[in-house]
């Protein structure tokens, strides 16, 4: 789960990271009053969980409260990369002398947090990694010990931060790490961390990605989720603990197990089709869960054929079959369905589906081949 810029900055501020004065607004008139209160020039920033806001015109400078109101009206009406803008952040405008990158994330290979700093802030750190890899400095953090001052000092020294900013920078590093740790984040990032004209450090933009598995410890963060921004299918999948990722193809896939689901998608593609989604119903799924999964797939208008691939273990094929039948009954799908059921209670599962208008396959390869063929036939109609 990602936090918005304004939410991330609030979390940072709680840990002692300095952020610009500002406020969040859902309406243009709110934006205007925030600008009034701040005085001087302000920046109006679209709050959407997607990169490239600036290029899309979602971040604009206003010289007066009236202009702020006007810009807020425009931005609140936008969609950026398909996402509606429902909130804007109105911050005091700051003219930076320098822009720094500072982030902390989990390093998979080292199995520990890593703090990353660069004197080249303000742009995507992955871009810096490509163009100027020597400008990126890392310290690996002992997960039990946490970030130590000497490590923050090393970062300050390695990015050649002027010495008068070290004390404040170290405080910000410790604060950022604390924010990362206390929220169970997988990424906490300040980009840019700027040096202002009056020689202060300020977190101008911020981003936190929470570990979904850690959310049970943070009901206060879960409340920050803006469900309006979720597609209905994604929301339903989340509620039923189904792993669902929408894709652009036409073959809907329902599989038990993430690896098998990916393999099914891959095979579909190898056979000349395009998967419409990734969907893992998990282990031991109930008929209800299966039915929800199938409904989610069928709700995608691109889907021309559904491919069900289940290797029964804890998951029982008969239960899957019941779920399929229930979804068929309620949704009355017009697209063809190919099923391949193997393993626990396979015979009973096949028997249940025998009367339904269903194509069965015995191998994964065959199932994929038939699904692709069917999708092409549907296309021709």
């Amino acid at each position: 789960m990602k936090l918005h810029e304004y939410q991330s900055k609030a979390v940072f501020a709680e840990s002692g990271v300095p952020i610009p004065r500002g406020g969040v607004a859902s309406t243009a008139s709110e934006a205007k009053s925030i600008a009034q209160e701040l005085g001087g020039r302000v920046v109006v920033k679209a709050q959407v969980l997607v990169g490239g806001r600036g290029k899309a015109g979602g971040v604009r400078l206003a010289n007066s409260p009236l202009e702020a109101e006007d810009l807020a009206t425009q931005i609140l009406g936008m969609r950026i990369k398909g996402l509606p803008v429902s909130k804007v952040l109105v911050d005091e405008a700051v003219e930076p002398v320098a822009e720094i990158y500072l982030g902390v994330t989990n390093d998979r290979m080292m199995g520990c947090p890593v703090m990353i700093a660069s004197s080249e802030g303000g742009i995507d750190i992955e871009e810096v990694a490509r163009s100027d890899p020597e400008k990126i400095v890392r310290v690996y953090i002992d997960p039990l010990l946490g970030l130590q001052e000497f490590q923050a000092r090393y970062l300050a020294s390695a990015i050649e931060l002027p010495r008068n900013h070290w004390r404040e920078f170290i405080k910000i590093c410790l604060g950022l790490f604390n924010a990362y740790k206390k929220t169970d984040s997988t990424l906490a990032e300040i980009n840019p961390l700027v040096i202002t004209q009056d020689e202060k450090l300020l977190a101008l933009d911020g981003k936190i990605v929470l570990d979904d598995n850690g959310l049970f410890r943070h009901p206060e963060l879960v409340e920050m989720r803006n469900i309006d921004e979720e597609a209905p299918a994604e929301r339903e999948a989340r509620i039923y603990s189904l792993s669902y990722v929408k894709l652009e193809g036409e073959i809907g896939c329902m599989v038990n197990g993430a690896g098998l689901a990916m393999a099914t998608m891959d095979l579909t593609k190898l056979a000349g089709g395009e998967p419409a989604n990734f969907l893992d119903i998990g282990g031991g799924a109930s008929a209800e869960k299966v039915a929800v999964g199938l409904r989610i797939i069928l709700s995608d208008p691109n889907v021309k054929v559904v491919l069900v691939n289940v290797f029964g273990g804890i998951t029982r094929c008969d239960e899957v079959a019941r779920g399929i039948l229930s979804a068929i009954e309620s949704e009355k799908p017009e697209v063809p369905m190919v099923t391949r059921l193997v393993g626990t209670n396979e015979a009973e599962g096949r028997r249940l589906l025998a009367d339904a208008d269903m194509i069965t396959a015995s191998s994964l390869k065959e199932a994929a081949r038939i699904a692709v063929e069917k999708s092409k036939e549907v296309g021709k109609k």
Binding site: E126, F216, V245, A258
Partner: protein
Amino acid sequence: MSILINKNTRLLVQGITGQEGFFHSAHMMNYGTKVVAGVTPGKGGEWVLDGKIPVFDTVKSAVEVTGANCSVIFVPARFAADAILEAADAELPLIVCITEGIPVSDMMRVQSFVQQKGVRLIGPNCPGLQTPGACNVGIIPGQIAEAGSVGVVSRSGTLTYEVLYALKLNGMGVSTCVGIGGDPIKGTNFIDVLGLFEDDPQTESIVLIGEIGGTDEERAAEFIRDRMTKQTVGFIAGKSAPPGKRMGHAGAIVEGGEGLAVDKIKALTSAGVKVVDHPEQIPEMIF
């Protein structure tokens, strides 16, 4: 010989009175696994599974009384870190954590402690291990593999079953199957298991099942190139997965240009691994 588990494995089940722990304990016992004890805090003194298995309050006492030398963990995610730490503190040499959904922050702490203690953790978020005909630890179905000479190591669950089944249909047996799990931070990686297979006389060839995310497969390729003499066949799931999206497993995500299936396939191929296009092809590649 197999690796990691065999007929002498004395298994402790943490979370034995929970729904999952109970269900799979019965399955493991049916398989012939020596389940010797269960742990559920607050239920010490009870006997479960037809009165055959004693339940203890703590791992320490379970180990003292029953001589368990392996633990499998079925407790819910929010208690799993504590359960692994408890098993590691009791110095059980092999700990298998089935639980899915453990926070990464917990796993980083746990990992550091487990390494200090010098014990081996498999998982979390894994199906466990199976040495066909001898011992089954975890949730891999019992009837889909026969004893034999193929070592299987995998980041996936059901996909592994698919492979085991394909091997069986082709008359091929398995020495040990190890599911290392789909989390980004895990106790045991490909290279650890590959090293064990290389040293295991029973294992003649190896199947490695990887997926997108991280660089474990790239490191495995390096290890295979430098250190392995046995034939390895590979499959990587997720060629069609888009970047930036998590494909079910917490670890299955392409981020910052890292973790692409195509890079993994390239690395493995250039290390001499035959990488197949779909799991059912695997048996025909093994000779």
